[in-house]
Symmetry: C3
Subunit: 354 residues, 3 copies
Amino acid sequence: MTKTKTNPGNYFEDFAIGQEIRHATPRTVTEGDIALYTALYGPRFAVQSAADFAMDLGFEDMPADDLLVFHIAFGKTVPDISLNAVANLGYADGRFGVPVYAGDTIRTTSEVIGLKENSNGKTGVVYVRSRAVNQDDQMVVEYCRWVMVNKKDPASPAPEAVLPDLPKAVTPESLRLPTGLRLDKYDFQRAGSTFAWEDYEPGEKIDHVDGMTIEEAEHMMATRLYQNTAKVHFNQFEQAKGRFGKRLIYGGHIISLARALSFNGLENAFKIVAINGGTHCNPTFAGDTIHAWTEVVEKNEIHERPDLGALRLRTIATKDRPCADHPLKGDDGKYDPQVVLDFDYTVLMPRRQP
Amino acid sequence: MTKTKTNPGNYFEDFAIGQEIRHATPRTVTEGDIALYTALYGPRFAVQSAADFAMDLGFEDMPADDLLVFHIAFGKTVPDISLNAVANLGYADGRFGVPVYAGDTIRTTSEVIGLKENSNGKTGVVYVRSRAVNQDDQMVVEYCRWVMVNKKDPASPAPEAVLPDLPKAVTPESLRLPTGLRLDKYDFQRAGSTFAWEDYEPGEKIDHVDGMTIEEAEHMMATRLYQNTAKVHFNQFEQAKGRFGKRLIYGGHIISLARALSFNGLENAFKIVAINGGTHCNPTFAGDTIHAWTEVVEKNEIHERPDLGALRLRTIATKDRPCADHPLKGDDGKYDPQVVLDFDYTVLMPRRQP
Amino acid sequence: MTKTKTNPGNYFEDFAIGQEIRHATPRTVTEGDIALYTALYGPRFAVQSAADFAMDLGFEDMPADDLLVFHIAFGKTVPDISLNAVANLGYADGRFGVPVYAGDTIRTTSEVIGLKENSNGKTGVVYVRSRAVNQDDQMVVEYCRWVMVNKKDPASPAPEAVLPDLPKAVTPESLRLPTGLRLDKYDFQRAGSTFAWEDYEPGEKIDHVDGMTIEEAEHMMATRLYQNTAKVHFNQFEQAKGRFGKRLIYGGHIISLARALSFNGLENAFKIVAINGGTHCNPTFAGDTIHAWTEVVEKNEIHERPDLGALRLRTIATKDRPCADHPLKGDDGKYDPQVVLDFDYTVLMPRRQP
């Protein structure tokens, strides 16, 4: 008899500390992916929109949006890490490496860095560090995430619990700057705003004003572009019978929409360098309109770089709720039911030239 | 206190005659944009579809569709010119310059050439000439448009009225032909029709027969691709409370659909060289099916070019109404409520080789 | 009076045995088309996803998906062959030639190889062999198809019936392998599965498990990308009055979805080399969820190639019906009403290295 050929995914018992998983389907990023990313979210950051603007800053070419790279790297891990996942619990210690240009090929490998069975004996939490590299084995993005995964057999013994030590935020010292980055020719006007790093203050809250409604075709095209195969995004026949009755939107789609909306108020936040954490607070569905607002969490100088600084930001996205009053949590400390994303990340921004 | 970071747009008082506005977000056009344009509208003109067909005519490569270039150039102007606009009133004197190839970077600058406050004191009309150039500062498209813009303060004094002198149509002498254009190898059969410039007559009306239904995901992807941020196209949550209860489709989307439909009957109209004027007569919404018909307005020989001629065309698009009887206006002189576009432009067409 | 400029399409009387039709609109395939194909279907085969993976196998670059090439070649033929078609009856003897890379330009020519008027005198069957070549006149795909076409005038005399002799399946000897193909570096793990040609057996049935729901925007974008202009896919205004009340989805869209779903169980079926036959058993519409299963029909060694083999496959796609029990036909020998595709094709798969 022939063996079942389809991928059953990994269950909690299939993971072991130190295990390394080389994920399938290396992926060459092209100008086509970059154009689709623009069509799906509408980002307007000049560095990712114009080759000459980027090259004036020392990039080799127009780089792919950092989140496009993240989504592709992430998509690769789904068939091995989260096919049998119950929930995506968190991210930490995310860092972007060398820029990705059209023509670069990305592949992702994950290492299991933590395991903890839940007290119900039916599920466990798996922590992985995923690392995506280009064709020259240079890191393009790496991050930790933890997911709750079903056990195949509730009777199988629990492994020794190992919990990784994860930082609350990526430290400014460990951020990677693109090689050769220089900002002397940075054109604030063409970038869309004269506000520089100096103009932002910790505690400042920015309502990004605009709203964007999501269609089924859009989130499915995006998620397929990332070769992310999680079933809940694509199969209405199955989802119709489920808890929500409809397809769930990939959480990363909301991150990209929020980032694109944040251009209105953060025009010069020209590159994401770290993902400190993130929570998909509530599910989103086609027909929802996404708004976003951002709080400036920290300002950091960058060693020996008087020309640019880092901003640690917390961008909150909502569904069907404008953000002028900065919605977040209720009196009970729980997220407002219309808050769908709480994303903690670090961007680079030019300083006003001396 | 920190200043509001989001773009409030310009109000009528913010414009002054002679003012030059360098718009944000230069944009590198890629093969990805070109493929998306094909997927969104389905144009079949051979020059924009096949590199070798285009190069046989003297192009350096397959050029981007003229309207794709127009939409990108136009999109740049929205945050500065029409964010607070009440209505887009008209276009004139539009001319296409050097072809745009994948890899070229477009940026747009506008000059204010007219201002006239309306008698109600609440709004005014702003006339701008927008000019888009490539990375070598060569003009790729320029056009005038005028929009009705809100005043910030009805009490602010009216500026001296200045009305620009705009031509009814671009004259044949001022059309720009692509450098090195030659038509001796033009393959009528591969282009899809044996009808040449000689076969069209002023007054002739062509029903383009086919109809194309628009989906929300399509017009939003298109409009984001052009980085056009006009709020009415994207935010169903807000639009639900408005006059129509739904998202309005970017008028340029209809121009592109009408042009793609016009292939059936105008197969050899291989390049748009001028936009003489245009009216978005009625709004369109997702679910509408667009049909189109064209009247040949003028035929023009081109100086010292026995191999090609110009046709001034007027293409009319409708919603949910086939065009066999060439719908346009009612007995009251007003546009039929199903007519959504009246577009006056000039194309190049090969003449039958001697 | 000017002649009608729009394309009336060909009627049964317009075809003659031996007639050669050079179809319009040559088409340069770009990275943009490839990215759109990924976004529309989500294929994950490594050869078509990663340039370096492909080049390790001797390809010059990441090749376009074989079915993308097929759809583009096919789309060209529609205005001449099937604009007045009543039904698409079948395919046979389809063969892929040299790989298509971004930058290649495809053009299609068809030869009429069979004609048979139906007994009702109103329609007839036209058999064509369509052949698509690249800019160097190398065959990229060729296939036969037959369609039922309306007669313009039922009174016109029937031509002498000519029926072509078409093979049940493309023989292994006549398959074209990409020049320079070598499999010594084939990385099964990065390709997504360790199952090789040896692991599949004739008669084996594989349920591909996953389901994918189709949206209107998706199938229309795909079909326009292929410049396929068949009216039934695009015009809801017209279709609303028709038999189904809605737009019909291009049958090739289902073939591509089924192939993408088949990755789960056929990860190493890295290239389609032949299309032996195919039936679009029932129509599909937006909102339908597609599942698929595959039967291995034959295993074939390839002459002097101990490193790879061919599998003849039959992939069945359904709408709104999972495929765990391999649905196909009822007791009456007719296709199950939820079976929408029965596709017979041949793929290459690596053998386990000795």
